[in-house]
Structures are given as C-alpha cells and as structure tokens.
C-alpha cells in the first residue's frame, strides 16, 4: 500500500516536473539568449490554457483544438515580442521587469474580461480518459501518463533541436555572442523573435495540456512562473539541460514533500507539532533547495559557459 502510494506520488511529481520544464525551457532560453527577464512568461502558459478552451469548443475536438491553440499562441508570442519585448533588448533588467509586469496585469485582466473570472474546464479527450493498471492495486490516469510522455518527448525534441540542427547552432551562437553572430550576417532580430515565440508556444503547450487536469482561471500562470524561475536558477540560467534536471527535481521534491513530510516528521516530533510544521516545511522545501544550491553553487547546477 505504501509503495504504491509512493509510486503514484513519484509519477505525480515527475508530471509536475515535466510541466515546469515546458515553461522553464522558454524562460531560460529568452533569458540566456536574449538577456531579457520576461515575467510575462506565466501569462503565456495561462493563455495557452484559455486558447485551448476556445479552440476545443470551436472544433469540438481535443486533437484539432490543440494545434489551433498552439498556432494562436505562437502568433500572440510574435505580437508581444514586436510590441513590448523588442524595445527592451539591452535595457536594464529592472525596466524589463517593470514592463513585463505591466503585461501580466493587462493580460490577466483581459482574460477576465474575455472569458470571465470563473474557472473553466477543458474536456478530456475520450482516447485518453480512464485509468490504466500499472501493477497490482495501482491504477493511474491515462491522461496524466500521456502528459508525462508528451513532456518527455518535447524535452528530447528540444535537445535534438538545440544540439543537432542549424537553428540550434545559431541559437547557441547567439547566446554566447550575439553581436558576433550579427556581424557574420545572421539576422539576430529575427532569430530573437523566433526564440521568443517558440518559448511562448512551449509555455502555451504546457497550459493547454494541463487544462484538462487543472482548472483554467485568471492568474493561474503567476504561481507557476515563480516556480519556473526557481527551476532555471537551480539549473543555471541559459541551460536547457539544467532546466530539465532542476524541473524534475523541483517537481518531485514539492510533490513528495507535500504528501509524506508530515508523516515523516511524526517519527521524530510529537504529532501535534508535526502537523503544524510539516505543511509549512513542505511548502518551503523547493525554496530551501534553491537557497542551498545557490549557497554552494552561486551560478546554478549547470552554469552556462561565460
């Protein structure tokens, strides 16, 4: 019984980690390559979920809605880059924080006006509903497994894209020395725009996939944004590999901490103290992890080459 519970929670943790990775990947690319702190990355996750709500309602199908929502998110990403982000290249980080904070306020409120403040739901596709028996006494939702698989697939694809293709090579070159790449005749502005829109689409994919298991509501991206920042800082800013490792680590620690920490504390503390300390300690566990990582490795686990 205890082993199966542990296994379920490990799967849940991995699944949160995969979602975090999808959001953090775009964030770390935009930060590492363009040196822009984009607080508005969380609203792109939220927009992905909302676009998915509309796209599935329009087409009546999860599978037709998903590409539609992703294309819409890509277009919105390009628009945001052109209007707000492009004038911010090379500006002070604090000014970027201020401007993208303004974008958060605008989009959160805009979403409330267009879709309403009440939580919405995305219907689960028939093919992925129900649960599957993994072993004796352990049933797990098919959709959550599919989400985990899709996330891992995207992570693998991203790795190949960055390390094996020409676009990936330009991206890595741009990250280490943008003026030099520009001098060699590459349109760095267009490259940045593509990276930004691609990151926006990854976040939207996470939002669209999370939609059927979470409620879709205004501000749903804000908490995830902070966790994604924790992930990219632990992983080392600009490192996709670091973001992947850190995302899984944060997902696992957060999920396992919330489910088991109180019981573990009961072994060493009086039960009343444990029930009070446990949840607080579990909530702060990822931040404790980040503080420790930064204390011993001030540039994260996988620091990008300077």
């Amino acid at each position: 019984m205890s082993t199966t519970l542990l296994l379920v929670q490990v799967l849940n943790g991995l699944q949160l980690g995969v979602l975090l990775f999808l959001v953090a990947a775009g964030l770390t690319l935009v930060f590492g390559v363009m040196d822009v702190i984009n607080l508005a990355h969380g609203v792109q996750y939220m927009l992905g979920a909302y676009l998915m709500v509309t796209a599935t309602a329009l087409t009546g199908s999860f599978w037709l809605g998903l590409p539609l929502a992703l294309v819409a998110a890509l277009v919105l990403g390009l628009v945001l880059e052109r209007l707000v982000i492009r004038p911010l290249y090379g500006r002070d980080h604090l000014e970027q924080v201020l401007a993208t904070f303004g974008v958060i306020l605008f989009v959160n409120e805009g979403v409330k006006m267009v879709w309403g403040a009440a939580p919405l739901a995305i219907p689960m596709p028939d093919a992925l509903s129900g649960s599957i028996r993994l072993m004796d006494g352990l049933n797990y939702t098919v959709y959550r497994l599919a989400l985990l698989g899709a996330g891992l697939l995207v992570a693998g694809g991203l790795y190949l894209l960055v390390t094996r293709t020409r676009s990936g090579m330009l991206l890595r070159a741009g990250a280490s020395n943008a003026p030099m790449v520009s001098a060699l005749g590459v349109d760095i502005g267009a490259l940045f725009a593509k990276v930004f829109a691609f990151g926006a689409m990854l976040a939207a994919f996470a939002g669209a996939m999370a939609g059927p298991i979470l409620s879709v509501e205004p501000g749903m991206g804000d908490g995830l944004l902070i966790l994604a920042f924790v992930v990219i800082v632990i992983g080392g800013i600009g490192s996709i590999r670091g973001a992947f490792v850190a995302a899984l680590l944060v997902g696992l620690i957060d999920t396992l901490g919330r489910s088991f920490l109180t019981d573990l504390l009961k072994l060493v503390l009086p039960p009343s103290d444990a029930t009070q300390v446990g949840p607080a300690l579990a909530s702060m566990s990822v931040y404790l992890l980040m503080a420790c990582v930064l204390f011993f490795r001030p540039r994260g686990l996988f620091p990008a080459p300077a």
């Binding site: 006006m113 800082v233 503080a291």
Partner: protein, 311 residues
C-alpha cells in the same frame, strides 16, 4: 537642487492633505505614505547599493507580525512594539543577507525571493496567530500610554514624520563615506576591491538597516489596517514595491531629477504615492483598472527608453 525640491514638494503636498480631505482620503494617503516608507527602504539598497531584493515584503510583514503578536501577548505600547518589530525585521535581514549577499545579479533576486517565501510559509503556519486567515488587532498601538494613533489625522502626521525621518536618514547614510562605498561598489565592484575595501560588510549592514526600516513600515501598516495576514509577506507585494521604486525613478528622471542620492529616494516616494493613487483613481473609474494600468507601466518604460536614447 531639483532632487531636494521634488522631495520637499512631495512632503509639503502630503502634509496639507488632512486640511482639505475627508477621512477616507486621509487613510488612503496614509497608506500611500507607509508604502513610500517601505519603498524608500528598498530603494536605499536597490538604488543605493544595486541590491535588487525580491523579498522586501517579508521584512515589512515581519514588522507587521511583530506588532500583531506582541499585542496578542498583551503589549500595546508602540514604544516597545515598534522597536521590537524593527529589530525582528532587521535581524531577519542580517541573517538572510549574510547568505544572499554571496550571490550576484539575478541570483540575488531569486535567493531573496526564496527567503521571502520561507517567511511567508512560516507566517501561514502560525496557527496560534491566525495562520492562513491572519490576525485581527484588538486596537491600534498606544504611544506612551496615550491613544494618539486612533485619530486618522494624528496617525497621518505621525506616519509623515517617520517617512521624513527615515528618508533623511537614508539620504545622509548614502552621502556619508559608508554610503560612498556602497555606491562605488554598485558602479564597479572590482575597483573597490582593488582599493582594499571588501564591500560585503558594508552591504550587509545596509541590508540589515533596510530590513529595520521596512519593519517599521510594516508596524505602521498593521496599525493602519488593524489586521495582519500572510498576504503581507507574499511575493506579489515584493514585486509591487519594486514596481514603485523603478516606476518612481523613471518618473523622477522624466521630471529632470538625476537618479542618485536623495533624488532617487524622492523617486521612491513619488513612485509609491503615485502607484497607490493611480490604482485607486483607476479603480474608481472601472472595475477593470488593470487593463489601463498595465499598458501605462509598459509605456512608461518604452517612452523612458526613448528619452534615454536621445540623450
């Protein structure tokens, strides 16, 4: 000169508010001044020493909880509670600062966020003091046994007095040789080190002082609302404080005040008062005021850049 003129004009405007306004507006402006005090304490390290703290609300919240918890335990006296609140927030800043100041740049932003979140979750778990629901104060603090803070106008002037005092103190510290080290290390840390000065202890002391000042603003806020809750420590609030400081600095530079020294602190006061009044004004116009306020922030940054590039 313009910097001093801006500060004096702001303080004069805040001083005449109770003469012409009703209780509601006085309370609103008092709230704005409390945030101005917190923004000044943040700008003291942000503008003065280049330390962008994303956990400043936690320091403010610790001050607020200091007053709340002492009152729950039977101590209503501000002359005891306020210094205690400042000491608690200052101590928290010193301890977390000792670790955080080992990191730089974005990593510093994130590690201060981490400590802020830890304080937030601790506040949430304080079930003896309201836990998640927060803690209602029985009444406002007494000053030397007198219930002066009960009157909105007295509270307004007490807050204004403290705001002027702390702003002047921060400006004096930044102008002193101690502050010179902070500002020099912000511009070029390597050179300061080459001169044989390690900026770390200077930054740590400045961070602790900023914590104590933020704690004072929290103590005032707890008295104004007669309520403390974990939301006081949330990262949203830390973000709002950064927005106030940065927006204020940009607005001040648009007015022709050079960003530096006292002029910067004037920007923080302007930013805090401006943000709270603009929010309130827009909220009166429409329920969806953020749809206007968000683009205003974006425009402030984009137009500020246009000015900067021309110069």
């Amino acid at each position: 000169m313009r910097a001093l003129a801006l500060l004096l004009a702001l303080f004069a405007a805040l001083a005449v508010v109770p003469l012409a306004a009703d209780t509601y507006v006085v309370a609103l402006v008092t709230r704005a001044m409390i945030f101005a005090l917190a923004a000044v304490s943040l700008d003291f390290i942000l503008g003065g020493a280049g330390l962008v703290s994303f956990g400043h609300a936690a320091l403010m919240g610790i001050g607020a909880y200091g007053v709340g918890i002492l009152m729950e335990e039977g101590t209503r006296e501000a002359l005891i509670a306020f210094p205690a609140a400042m000491a608690a927030a200052g101590l928290f800043a010193l301890v977390t600062g000792a670790v955080s100041l080992k990191t730089r740049g974005v990593y510093f932003i994130m590690i201060t966020l981490a400590f802020g979140q830890m304080a937030f979750f601790v506040a949430q778990s304080l079930s003896a003091y309201g836990g998640d629901d927060g803690l209602s104060l029985a009444a406002r603090s007494t000053v030397a046994g007198q219930r002066w803070l009960k009157s909105p106008v007295t509270f307004h002037y007490a807050t204004l007095g403290l705001l002027i005092l702390i702003t002047a103190l921060c400006a004096l510290i930044l102008a002193s040789p101690f502050g010179r080290v902070l500002r020099a290390a912000k511009e070029n840390e390597r050179r300061v080190r080459a001169l044989g000065i390690d900026p770390y202890p200077y930054r740590l002391v400045a961070y602790g002082l900023a914590g104590a000042f933020a704690g004072l603003s929290g103590a005032l806020l707890a008295n104004l609302t007669e309520f403390v809750s974990p939301a006081f420590l949330s990262w949203h609030r830390s973000g709002e404080l950064i927005v106030m400081v940065v927006a204020g600095a940009m607005a001040a530079s648009a007015l022709g005040v050079r960003a530096g020294g006292a002029g910067r602190l004037g920007g923080a006061v302007l930013g805090a008062v401006g943000v709270i009044l603009v929010e309130e004004g827009l909220a009166h116009l429409t329920e969806h005021w953020r749809i206007v306020f968000g683009p205003l922030l974006v425009l402030l940054v984009l137009l500020g850049g246009w000015r900067g590039r021309r110069a």
